[in-house]
Symmetry: C2
Subunit: 333 residues, 2 copies
């Protein structure tokens, strides 16, 4: 596996420096400890959103820092949770007096380290709430996780809760919106190839030339089963069925369909998957109201994709449509 | 090479159908022949922009159809020029009486087929102009090309000329802006791996585990040399030097720096490359005013990247910043 890097130990710091150089109007980067905040932080009177986790999932989370989404992102080493120190420092840096919401993906290390940071922040009289994203229906308990894993649905939580904070909702309100997204989103993924962690230098798992892993995690954690590769439509059926049955989504539901690339899958293939997923939604009587297609929660260069489906209501649609200005997700009115 | 596809012959049609399903407010898809137009086409009195070329470079060009950028995109088969028929049909569909600009990447097939379509459109009294993008400094003449190849700089031409058309410039004016971008942008790329065309089923070229190709084309055409892999910063130096020397860019120039992923390279690596490229610009006395980082002109799942540098002036900055609403590039005010 060839990589476009310098020192494997400098990957995160150099990438963060690149983000700072590319997006000076959006982001400010802090080092020692490492975290990114929106350029205009702290915003007085606005609830601040902080997320983070292991690196290697870019643009998650640093690409989502900015107006209408996150106030700070805390990148750990590749596939490794950030320690409490930078989480605390980021929380302090963005607190504008209205409280801070931590958006945490359900991995044991993330949960523990965000909890510790939240306790330390609370001891400094910062109001703190936390929400836990656990949208992956593939497996219960996994490498690094008790319960379900948090995967690409996190992007939707960050966008929609970020819009609620931007319109001026208070901490309970923003937390409630985040919890509503979490309650209504379900995801599942597939891998065609394995990612290689830079300092490891070897693929995270072995997968045969003709095989795919159904229910893969975003760190290459095992899923439900290893099967021979199938046509795209059949693969979509295999992961979309369990997603729709889980909530369950019902006829008449309005949904956002998110086809997320894992990093190494061409966009042309993601749209092929989207096409069939949209057909399945229609067959089930669901109404496709909003869409997102692209590489938003990746696993380094892994080939594969995930599908997330979010059940919408009028308020969630309004918050989804609200302006956002981040490196990776941006639109206006 | 595993792919997320159904029938290899249906790849383009299914992906285009996926785009239509994902972006109904932005795009309308025509089949037989296949092309995409913005949902509100034709816009009376606005100069219309049409681009196209072989598929496999997504989001180029379909992802750039919408307000402030292209009026139509014409996708050929993977790595194969579209025929004159769909180019003509797209031209007719978007003509709003103010004329149509064809933005053509310099490949022999594209040049011929766009010329034929332009002749046919002119015979129907549609005012037509064409510009040829040839930004790749790596090689002169290549597989499929006489002269220099058109690569990722095309995205910048489409964005900036699209903004000029949107603000109401006439056909000569929009053409002049496109030509100014073309005159001031230079690019070069590197491949770490080879892409695999779906119906071919084999990688387009052989490249060793420890090798990279300097000056690669976006169809995997040979570049300048094959060398052992180096640290990212050294690779950036190898391609950025020739780019800067070519125009040449001079001390005091204001520039847009675009680090483009070829499809299979993680975003975290693109930012590592951006970081060093920005350092080199600073050392050369250039002023980094605008940035773009991501997968915008790809070569299927090829790992690699290109750098484009565009010399800016006040008007080009204003047009770059103007609102754009497309599937792949979108921002507001």
């Amino acid at each position: 596996m060839k990589k476009l890097i310098n020192d494997p130990r400098a990957v995160v710091d150099e990438a963060v420096a690149g983000m700072a150089a590319a997006h000076p109007g959006l982001l400010t980067v802090h080092t020692d400890p490492t975290f990114l905040v929106r350029a205009d932080a702290p915003r007085q009177g606005k609830v601040a959103l902080v997320s983070g986790g292991g690196s290697g999932h870019e643009p998650l989370h640093g690409g989502f820092v900015g107006h209408g989404m996150l106030d700070a992102a805390v990148p750990g080493a590749v596939f490794t949770s950030p320690t409490p120190d930078p989480i605390l420092a980021a929380t302090q840096a963005v607190d504008g007096g209205a409280g801070v919401l931590h958006i945490v993906k359900n991995y044991t290390g993330d949960v523990l380290n965000f909890e510790t940071a939240a306790d330390l922040a609370a001891a400094e009289d910062i109001q703190i709430r936390s929400v836990l994203v656990a949208d992956d229906v593939a497996v219960k308990d996994s490498l690094y996780t008790a319960g379900r894993r948090g995967v690409a649905g996190t992007v939707l939580v960050e966008k929609i809760a970020g819009a609620a904070a931007e319109r001026g909702d208070d901490l309970d309100g923003v937390t409630g919106i985040a919890e509503r997204v979490i309650a209504n989103v379900r995801s599942m993924g597939v891998a065609l190839t394995a990612p290689t962690v830079p300092h490891a230098g070897e693929p995270s798992f072995d997968i045969g030339e003709g095989e795919i892993e159904i229910g893969i995690g975003i760190h290459g954690e095992p899923g439900r089963e290893r099967i021979p590769i199938e046509p795209a439509d059949a693969i979509v059926d295999r992961i979309l069925g369990p997603i729709l049955d889980d909530l369950p989504f019902s006829e008449g539901d309005r949904v956002l369909l998110f086809v997320n690339g894992m990093g190494g899958t061409p966009l042309i293939e993601l749209y092929i998957a989207f096409r069939h997923a949209a057909q399945v939604l229609e067959q089930r009587g669901l109404t496709l109201e909003r869409s997102l297609v692209g590489n938003y929660t990746t696993s380094l260069e892994m080939q594969g994709f995930s599908i997330s489906v979010l059940r919408l209501d009028d308020e969630l649609v309004e918050l989804w449509d609200a302006p956002v200005q981040t490196a990776a997700l941006r639109w206006g009115r």
